[in-house]
């Protein structure tokens, strides 16, 4: 398997029309914005893209649309997570057929299985494809399941295409332990920061970043990523603090979409059960973000 380096991965939101359908016109413009604004790859539909609120058919159609739109200009990582192993595996297989460059998947929704079942779940998804397979480690979003370094090492033995971990745990112990041992088993095994807390991950050896905030502040995120990749870690600190401050306000799809609207890139509001901030909340958020986003692009 050749080594696939995702680099700075933008994770777009999914725009909806007022009657709650996927807004493909806006999605096309949003994808163009991401490509122009420094994305090395795209990952979709991720949790910030409300994957869990899309039907299986919609997830497939959305991916097909994105692949047609991007037309080979940048790699697309398809997110294929579900509660059932076979459902997720089938979606992954379909993504490869469509032309996805890689697959990313998290632990099964709801079931909180023990480690040996998590391994089987990932093995089912990963072995359904031959393209690189990434595990998405997000303990806060997936309470009750825990991905350990040991679990990943076992999965390396099972899956020749297991290429790396996208980490949202922010856990130094896990990240260091993972790279200490995984690199010895599989050269090129990648640690990818799953949020914009890039500095410590980069110090440890992360080479990529999944960024939801890149839709709002692509310049800042790119600058942080580039400094980190050049090992200019001390220099990156002020940008890291700025991104962290932004992140505190924009963790949910609702607030992120409100911020996108404030930046002139209206992608609608989230589907239920997620809620958007009300008009007053949106205005307050926009006012608070304004000084933080002065250098960032407006409109599509």
């Amino acid at each position: 398997m050749s080594v696939f380096e995702p680099g700075l991965v933008h994770t777009p939101v999914t725009p909806f029309t007022r009657d709650n359908r996927i807004d493909y016109d806006t999605f096309g413009r949003l994808i163009e914005f991401h490509l122009r604004s420094g994305a090395d790859s795209l990952a979709l539909p991720t949790h910030i893209g409300e994957s869990v609120s899309l039907t299986d058919e919609e997830q497939r159609a959305l991916l097909a649309f994105a692949i047609r739109q991007v037309n080979g200009r940048k790699p697309i990582i398809a997110h294929a997570s579900d509660a059932g192993s076979a459902i997720a595996a089938d979606r992954a297989r379909h993504a490869q057929e469509l032309g996805a460059a890689a697959i990313v998947a998290t632990t099964p929704y709801y079931w909180t299985p023990p480690p040996h079942m998590i391994i089987e779940h990932f093995a089912a998804i990963g072995s359904a494809v031959t393209i690189p397979f990434f595990v998405y480690n997000s303990p806060e979003e997936m309470p009750g399941t825990r991905i350990t370094a040991d679990l990943c090492l076992k999965l390396i033995d099972r899956l020749p295409n297991f290429a790396g971990v996208v980490d949202l745990s922010l856990d130094w112990q896990f990240m260091i332990e993972l790279l200490t041992y995984a690199e010895r088993k599989r050269g090129g095994f990648a640690l990818i920061a799953g949020t914009e807390h890039m500095m410590s991950a980069a110090a440890i050896g992360a080479t990529g970043l999944f960024s939801p905030l890149a839709g709002v502040a692509p310049k800042l995120v790119r600058k942080l990523f580039d400094s980190c990749r050049k090992d200019l870690l001390v220099k990156a600190r002020s940008d890291q603090e700025a991104v962290a401050a932004l992140r505190q306000h924009l963790k949910s799809s609702g607030s992120l979409k409100a911020a996108l609207r404030a930046m002139g890139r209206d992608c609608g509001v989230p589907r239920p059960p997620l809620q958007a901030p009300d008009a007053e909340g949106s205005r307050a958020l926009a006012a608070m973000l304004e000084p933080m986003l002065r250098d960032e692009p407006r409109g599509f």
């Binding site: 922010l170 856990d171 130094w172 112990q173 990240m175 260091i176 332990e177 790279l179 200490t180 690199e183 807390h197 500095m199 410590s200 991950a201 110090a203 440890i204 050896g205 090992d231 870690l233 001390v234 990156a236 600190r237 890291q240 603090e241 962290a244």
Partner: protein
């Protein structure tokens, strides 16, 4: 002014005789070994020193020995955290009386105190003495009880002797937030990582750590710290990975395995008090094989 608590500081293990009583001559050797092999400061008794398995009189006795043996060569802090807060208060008074350079105190055990209770605890502790106080944040061991950035800033504003934190969340977001608020208010605030995870902490403002493995590999501790402070990241990564293999080896039944490792290094310090086990001969043989594989037997001092 630079904070005197920086670098990879050593927290000695507590040597015991075969009947589990304190072994003072061996403890003196451990302290002297750490100072001679470059420890920038000494702190005792951490959890690794079996603090919670020692009686309060035992803790006082060895605290006195620590100050006496180190004899001003490097700063000494006393870890005063005890199950009963009243014992903590008394240990803090005692540390001041015997001439320690500071104390270290974790958020209260067991009760999962609220943020306000943690606040009041540190106010009471820090105003009861004049010594510098290092706080100790360990949310994963204490059911999520933690010193948040907001609480940290209130304590720094209120307490002139609140000079640092042993930060053991090992989490990028939490560490960055504490670093951001603490350094803005007190630029020489000592941001110390719980064990030697220096690589991710130094770029965020970390200036050192306490040591898990220093009684086995003091040279590696110093080399890792130097590489991080010099910004030699590729070398720092290599050393951090090696340190992690050691941490992996020792954290299993910590500190029993560490005491087992010290036997291999020619510095035996006796058993570990129950409920923790003592490293068996088989475990020691396994540790020896691992240390040999990592090159530690050749690159680190043997004997006292």
């Amino acid at each position: 002014m630079q904070n005197k608590f920086r670098g990879v500081m050593q927290s000695p293990i507590t040597p015991l005789k075969d009947d589990y009583s304190l072994d003072l001559p061996a403890f003196e050797k451990v302290l002297d070994f750490h100072v001679r092999t470059g420890a920038p400061a000494i702190s005792w008794p951490h959890h690794k020193g079996e603090s919670l398995s020692l009686t309060i009189p035992e803790r006082k006795r060895f605290a006195e020995a620590t100050v006496k043996v180190v004899a001003g060569r490097v700063p000494v802090t006393i870890h005063v955290s005890a199950l009963a807060v009243e014992d903590t208060m008394e240990l803090a008074q005692h540390a001041q009386k015997i001439g320690a350079d500071g104390i270290l105190a974790i958020t209260p055990y067991f009760w999962t105190p609220t943020r306000e209770a943690i606040h009041d605890y540190f106010i009471r502790l820090c105003t009861s003495i004049e010594l510098p106080v290092l706080s100790y944040n360990s949310p994963s061991y204490l059911a999520g009880v933690e010193i948040t950035g907001e609480l940290m800033s209130r304590l720094i504003e209120r307490l002139p002797n609140f000079v640092g934190v042993k930060e053991a969340s090992f989490n990028s977001e939490k560490f960055l937030e504490i670093s951001r608020v603490a350094l803005a208010l007190r630029p020489n605030f000592a941001l110390l990582t719980g064990v030697e995870f220096l690589l991710p902490s130094v770029p965020l403002g970390g200036v050192g750590s306490y040591s898990a493995a220093g009684s086995v590999c003091p040279n590696l501790c110093a080399a890792l710290f130097d590489a991080c402070m010099a910004g030699e990241w590729p070398r720092a990564r290599e050393l951090q990975y090696k340190m992690t293999r050691l941490w992996h080896l020792f954290k299993d039944q910590y500190p029993s395995s560490l005491k087992g490792g010290m036997v291999i290094m020619g510095r035996p310090v006796g058993p570990t008090r129950p409920p923790l086990p003592t490293a068996t001969k088989e475990r020691q043989a396994f540790i020896e094989k691992e240390l040999a594989d990592m090159g530690v037997l050749d690159s680190e001092p043997h004997g006292w």
